[in-house]
Homo-oligomer: 83 residues x 2
């Protein structure tokens, strides 16, 4: 069993209204030195190991976890975890 | 200017219905070797450097970004980015 961490972020060119709202709230709370906020997703998977694990993870991300029109993703595979 | 990456995850003991729904969808798509899915948030901040940067980041997370009753967070500060 492998643990996989997937990080999904909006592409640079895509507006992030949620991040803007958080930034404005932080400014209202007097944290005026926060210049930019971008909000993405962080997904942890536990997945049984297979020969084509990386290919499979990319399929999962492309088909289900990320919207590749507006989002980028990257992932890390951690060593064996106890099942 | 520092770039800060914040990872927010649900505590182990907290149910994750969104993750469960994703897991079931993945099983329906025949990815049956995915045993667990947990969904969290990934936030990128750009923040002007200050003497008490770490203290400030923890305040931001505690007050605004994370709900510490049900969520854990960790963060990484990256080196200077060009503003």
């Amino acid at each position: 069993m492998k643990k996989v961490k997937v990080f999904i972020t909006l592409k640079e060119s895509v507006l992030d209204p949620q991040g803007q709202a958080v930034k404005e709230s932080l400014h209202n709370m007097d944290y005026k030195n926060v210049n930019d906020v971008r909000i993405g997703k962080y997904i942890e998977l536990e997945i049984e190991d297979s020969a084509n694990l990386h290919q499979q993870i990319e399929e999962l991300c492309d088909k289900m976890l990320a919207n590749t029109v507006i989002e980028n993703y990257r992932y890390e595979v951690l060593e064996e975890v106890q099942s």
